[in-house]
Amino acid sequence: MDALHWATLAQLKRGLDARDFSSLELTQHLLDRIAVHDERVQSFIHLADDALAQARAADRRRHRGGAPLPLGGIPIALKDNYQSRGMPTTAGTRATGIEFSHEVDSACAERLRAAGAVLLGKTRTHEFAWGTLTPPVANPWDLERIPGGSSGGSGAAVAAGFVPMGMGSDTGGSIRIPASFCGVVGLKPTFGRVSRFGIVPHSWSLDHPGPLTRTVEDAALVMNVLAGYDARDPACQDQPVPDHTADLGRGARGLRIGVIDNHFMDRNAPAVQQCVEGRLHELQREGASVTHFSMPILAYGLAAIYAIELASSGAYHDRWIAEGRSTQYQPDVRALVEMGRLVSAVDYLKAEQVRAVMAAEFRRLFDEVDVIVTPTEPLTAWKRDCDTVAINGIDESVLAASWRLTYPFNLTGLPAISVPCGFDDDGMPIGLQIAGRPFDEPMVLRCAAGVERLCATPRRPPLA
């Protein structure tokens, strides 16, 4: 058994079921580790007052012989935009007069609780889940670098060995970006697969809840808990829920992989490009086929997501802007929400038309392939306080660079995962992104498990 703090959900479940340790011991161990190391990482904004009480209750239940629960007694974290009973939710804002319920569980918190999880605390997010920085969180692989965002607290907490799973939310890449930068697995399920009820909205048609974990198997286990219909979320779809772990061992043989050469493969740091291409060759050697495509409509993707995201968050924040509360937001977030009214209705609807065209184009590709493989990020995590980054000698804003490869799957709502696939020369993790057909998370997870198996024994960040 690996050290408790590096153990996966699957290992922890086996250990708890075998009574190798109790939930109380596990929870206390993680709280002790957080107390020692999170001063430097800053991943948690709140720890649950009743974490140990939850753990004791899980142990009592186990001792009474209650039926095993999928996450019984395992501590997990929620991003600070998930409302949850008994814990404050700030959505990363300090603006006065903006409050969220601490009496209602979000649908995800409700499902995780019902699955037996110990809700250990809340992880930091950039204000209202905007942006890519998640200040003041540090990347556990190099404390001078950003963890990515906006689910940077969850990414850092999982990478640092504080929790085996942290929930994130993804509007333009906010699960997959920190997953890539922190060397963990991050899954953005299909839009409508997991209920958004009780999550502070960013952009209604782009927001996706999903888990950040240390392994693909753990992401699948969490999806078995989270997936399912919830009428409280108007976008949630009543689709059958498969066993997301069923295909993990099937390997790459027969897998049909698509690579889109423009947009995804034409402007990446050399280390990222080489690493992803290397993994593609290895998958081919294991029996996968690779087909190359071009998708010109992607040139309009940034315009589309800007129009939709700015207009949507402008509408959500409209009352608070009118009341002058946005003056208390961080300057970048304030500017972005106040821009919402500058997007014309015609431009907004043209963005929704582009979205429809893009969805149809991906549909055409998925007639020929099972998954699309791309890098998750065009580069690895950069040092704090960078506004621009240079990729192959061309300067690009950090926002533009960080979501360039992820937002197409928010626009299309397709399931997409980031799985660690290597390291650059500075020892920073590189992520590989896999996207699939709507509600075909099992295929995405199968391919991700194949990539995971190609990688050597996982490295750990240089925390004690």
Binding site: S205, D230, A231, R232, P234, A299, Y300, L302, A303, A304, Y306, A307, L310, I321, A322, G324, A335, E338, M339, R341, L342, V343, D347, L349, K350, A351, E352, Q353, V354, R355, A356, V357, A359
Partner: protein, 70 residues
């Protein structure tokens, strides 16, 4: 064409603010417009597309409010 005077600028700003329905004062609106300029350049690409035959990815669902809560 006469040069724009400060008072003309203010009048234009006032009309713009009214059209946009923004509560931002003139100085703040100018700052937000400046920050928006590069984004507008990107969004402007949408205006070059002829998409008249494409239904936008926004669909009104009249049955939504009839769903049971749980």
């Amino acid at each position: 064409m006469p040069a724009a005077s400060p008072s003309n600028d203010q009048a234009v700003q006032a009309v713009l603010a009214r059209l946009l329905g923004t509560p931002l004062d003139s100085e703040r609106l100018q700052a937000v417009l400046a920050a928006y300029a590069p984004i507008l350049e990107e969004i402007g690409k949408l205006r070059t597309l002829d998409l008249r035959d494409v239904h936008p990815a926004v669909v009104y669902e009249p049955t939504a409010s009839y769903r049971s809560p749980k």
